[in-house]
């Protein structure tokens, strides 16, 4: 628990302008994307919420905060753009929330050697916009680039998004990180030990600065094809991934239909496949021929339509949220070769719900599916049921040699199933770097199990529709005469 003395010391570190204990402020720092996790579920998880929020501007300030927190056993939750839907930035054990967004400067742009040094709190869009003036671009960047920070994408793994199929995940582009360990010690990593902190979700240290690769701005060309057949569409995606496109994604029929209901104008087909390529004029020409061949079974759209969809890529994922108005997002990473089967299985898992799938380009022949499930948090019982789906998605991903895309809070309970024995190794690594477990407690390797009553309740909610459906299905097979007989006895009018 944070006490008055702690606040005074933290104020000394960051100054009174960059610290808050105001109730409404603390509430905002106890929520993330979606802001629709039912309060009951957060209570069941035992979330205490932020007790104090600080906005450091330098690595030294972060170091001083951590050193003090470590000595006094105060939990720390680090926050970037807060644009992830897995509850990764929720302060489970209370304590200090460190908002990194003030560390948002570009320190170095080295065009010749192709790298930039940036504060971890800069948003990807701001970095991309600034690099344009130097004739440069970033490689991998997230679908929430307007809000997501460089540090946040690194901390959450950065394995899917625009640029990933061509340049690899964000980890492939990190040359060095400045990291503050839980004790307050500042380290500078090399490309190899940077991997330790990539995807560690704020549990091993706080990334305060990053040196990432950048690339020369090249010509772009964009394509959009509609496929009437899921088989043809998924096959095209698999082949397209071998061309190392800059952008590779799809929207499924459900997603397209929901977009149209929200006022957009898409054709409603099984899949809309979007491809973007960059390179020299010759490279583009060569790839153009191949893309046309691969997508021969699809219905091509004019380039301006494809480009428009590409430009809109940061917004489209949330464009139909108003129809919910609440949204529950599940993300899994699966090999492209199983995509058709995975989509079929998702349809079975989500029977009776309203949902759509958007994919994000990934590397190594895989794809990340972002499954958007609509609901209405004001119908609390029904909405709570959707949160029990995370286990189903983890199992589904595992069935096809895939995995969940990110752990955060919601997938932490599935960690054993996801990592098996690897989980013990991860726990050892975490405790060796953070003996007191003050960094982002309750997440990833040290999950918080929701209260037993909530689990029971969620189980019941999951089984009730199934039981009803079972009874109705069974009744279909009872001969009508028998039914009349049965009701006749009850009614007492048998003839």
């Amino acid at each position: 628990m944070v006490i008055t003395k702690d606040i005074a010391i933290l104020t000394d570190i960051v100054g009174k302008e960059r610290i808050s204990t105001e109730e409404s402020e603390l509430f905002c720092y106890s929520r993330d994307l979606g802001n629709s996790i039912p309060d009951e579920l957060l209570k069941a998880y035992g979330m205490l919420g932020a007790e104090v929020v600080v906005l450091p501007k330098t690595t030294e300030e972060v170091s001083a905060i951590l050193e003090y927190a470590y000595e006094n056993d105060i939990p720390i939750t680090t926050r970037g753009g807060g644009s992830w839907a897995l509850g990764g930035v929720l302060p489970m054990d209370g304590g200090i929330v460190i908002d990194m967004c003030r560390m948002n400067t570009i320190k170095t742009v080295n065009k010749e050697d192709g790298y930039v040094d940036v504060g971890a709190g800069i948003s990807w869009k701001k970095l991309m916009d600034s690099l344009k003036t130097y004739g440069l671009m970033v490689g991998a960047h997230p679908s929430s680039a307007v809000s997501a920070t460089v540090g946040g994408f690194i901390a959450t793994g950065g394995g899917a998004g625009t640029g990933v199929p061509k340049y690899g995940t964000v980890g492939d582009q990190v040359l060095s990180l400045k990291v503050v360990l839980s004790s307050g010690k500042i380290i500078q990593t090399d490309p190899w030990n940077s991997w330790l902190f990539t995807g560690s979700e704020g549990t091993l240290g706080i990334v305060t600065e990053a040196t990432v690769k950048v690339f020369p701005l090249r010509e772009e060309k964009h394509y959009l094809y509609y496929f009437d057949s899921l088989e043809q569409g998924t096959e095209a995606l698999r082949k397209l991934s071998n061309l190392e496109p800059y952008q590779l994604s799809f929207l499924d029929r459900g997603f397209l239909s929901l977009l149209n209901q929200a006022g957009e104008h898409f054709l409603e087909r099984e899949l809309a496949v979007s491809v973007g390529i960059t390179g020299t004029e010759e490279e583009l020409k060569a790839k153009d021929v191949k893309i046309t061949q691969i997508c021969a079974a699809g219905q091509p759209q004019p380039e301006y339509v494809a480009r428009d969809e590409f430009e809109n890529r940061f917004k489209i994922g949330l464009a139909f949220k108003c129809l919910g108005p609440s949204l529950f997002v599940q993300e899994i990473r699966v090999p492209l070769r199983f995509l058709k089967d995975v989509l079929d299985d998702i349809a079975k898992l989500l029977k009776g719900l309203t949902w759509g799938i958007e994919s994000l380009g990934s590397d190594a022949g895989s794809i990340v599916l972002s499954v958007m499930i609509l609901g209405d948090e004001r119908r609390e019982l029904e909405y709570l049921q959707t949160f029990s789906l995370s286990a189903g998605f983890a199992n589904l991903a595992r069935k096809y040699c895939g995995t969940v895309y990110g752990i955060g809070l919601h997938n932490a309970v599935n960690m054993r199933g996801i990592h098996n024995e690897g989980l013990d190794v991860m726990r050892d690594i975490r405790l060796s770097l953070d003996k007191q477990n003050i960094l982002n407690p309750g997440k990833t390797t040290h999950p918080r199990i929701p209260g037993i009553f909530v689990y029971m309740f969620m189980f019941m909610m999951k089984t009730v529709p199934f039981l009803v459906r079972f009874i109705l299905d069974t009744m279909k097979y009872i001969p009508t005469g028998l039914l009349r007989f049965a009701f006749g006895i009850v009614g007492g009018n048998i003839k």
Binding site: R31, L55, D99, A319
Partner: protein, 381 residues
């Protein structure tokens, strides 16, 4: 916006945080409760009866510059500016608005200007023999800032209009506030009365076209007045006159000029190119741009001068510093509020940069002014 519409928008907000990207207040202070995302999260809890409406929450509603930068980023179509207007209206009705806002509203209702200046002195800046309130199809609506504070702006515009023989009229002491600050403060009742009074006045003089030099007035005319009038900003009129060869610039302005897209003229009225065309017509001008310009331009902070002047100046200083970093030697605005705030911001921060509002720049550089042939030359075609 109705209560039900507000509730739907509160639940539609995805809390993605895109609204923070170009938010002048958030980018200066950095706390989430000052973003649309934060305000919507708090509002949801208040609507659900799980949070009390406290003083900091009320203050945060007035700390919104209503610049609408968040609207262009929002992927779910949340319009917080409309919500904030409705919230301010409710707070005002219940006398829960901050004291300074309550005073401002009372002053506006009494004086019809936000500067607490006497109503009867509105036309004092005009020579006593200057014809006012004559019948004309064209009215130059000066606005509160031009009437009470920056008289040089309307004088510059009039100098050009009078020199080319352009036929128009002024309301002088008969002019009233357009209603903009009254609406932003949430006093819809007074605003409606003011608008009705103005419309009646325009009609009584046979006015068809209203020329404005205040960006706030222009925005309000476009959005809150009947569409039977033709609203023309002076930048639109002067661009037309330049293209027709009526206005010719000969004297050189050898500066790297950066034009600032104020929110009311830019994002709210869609006027981006005309001020740039005028600047390009001046020989020697090398026009450069802010990183985020036109629709994406980031607010100067002027709209929150009443709620937090210190913060407004800090935001202004950040923009002036960006202009310097971009290599600008001259900052030009087309909104008097932006100019005043930039000047104060730069002075407070100790930053030096030449800056001027566009109309004040023009008479100095116009060499040839031909007479216009027809009185109807300003109408949009």
């Amino acid at each position: 916006m109705t209560e039900q519409e507000i509730i739907e928008q509160v639940y539609t907000c995805a809390s993605c945080g895109y609204c923070r990207f170009g938010c002048p207040v958030y980018n200066e202070i950095g706390f989430e409760s000052l973003t649309v995302r934060g305000r919507m999260q708090i509002l949801k809890k208040i609507l659900e009866g799980k949070m009390e409406l406290t003083k900091p929450i009320i203050e945060s509603i007035y700390m919104c510059a209503q610049c609408e930068n968040c609207n262009i980023r929002c992927p779910t179509g949340v319009d917080f500016v409309k919500i904030s207007e409705a919230l301010r209206e409710t707070l005002l009705k219940n006398r829960l608005a901050p004291e300074v806002q309550l005073m401002l509203t009372e002053n506006l209702a009494r004086d019809s200007n936000p500067f607490r200046e006497p109503l009867e002195e509105r036309g004092a800046w005009l020579p006593s023999d200057y014809p006012q309130c004559k019948k004309s199809e064209n009215l130059y609506f000066v606005g509160c800032t031009g009437s009470y504070s920056l008289n040089r702006i309307p004088k510059s515009i009039m100098r050009i209009l009078d020199n080319i023989g352009f036929e128009y009229t002024l309301l002088g002491s008969e002019e009233r506030c357009c209603g903009s600050p009254i609406l932003r403060a949430g006093d819809r009742e007074t605003a409606t009365k003011t608008i009705e009074r103005n419309v009646e006045k325009f009609k009584s003089l046979g006015v068809k076209t209203i020329i404005t030099s205040c960006a706030g007035c222009h925005k309000t005319f476009l959005h809150d007045y009947p569409s039977e009038f033709n609203f023309v900003h002076y930048t639109q009129l002067f661009t037309k006159l330049i293209n027709e060869g009526v206005l010719v610039f000969e004297k050189e302005l050898n500066e790297k000029v950066i034009y600032f897209d104020g929110c009311d003229l830019g994002r709210h009225s869609g006027i981006y190119e005309e001020p740039r065309e005028i600047l390009r017509a001046i020989p020697g001008v090398e026009l450069i741009e802010f990183q985020y310009n036109r629709e994406e331009a980031e607010c100067c902070g002027g709209p929150i001068l009443g709620a937090n002047a210190e913060l407004a100046r800090k935001i202004a200083a950040t923009r002036v510093q960006e202009a310097i970093d971009k290599g600008a030697t001259f900052l030009v605005t087309a909104c008097p509020t932006c100019l005043l705030n930039f000047k104060e911001g730069a002075r407070t921060a100790g930053i030096q940069l030449q800056m001027q509002d566009l109309p004040l720049l023009l008479p100095k550089y116009v060499k040839v002014m031909k007479k216009v042939q027809t009185a109807g030359a300003v109408k949009d075609e």
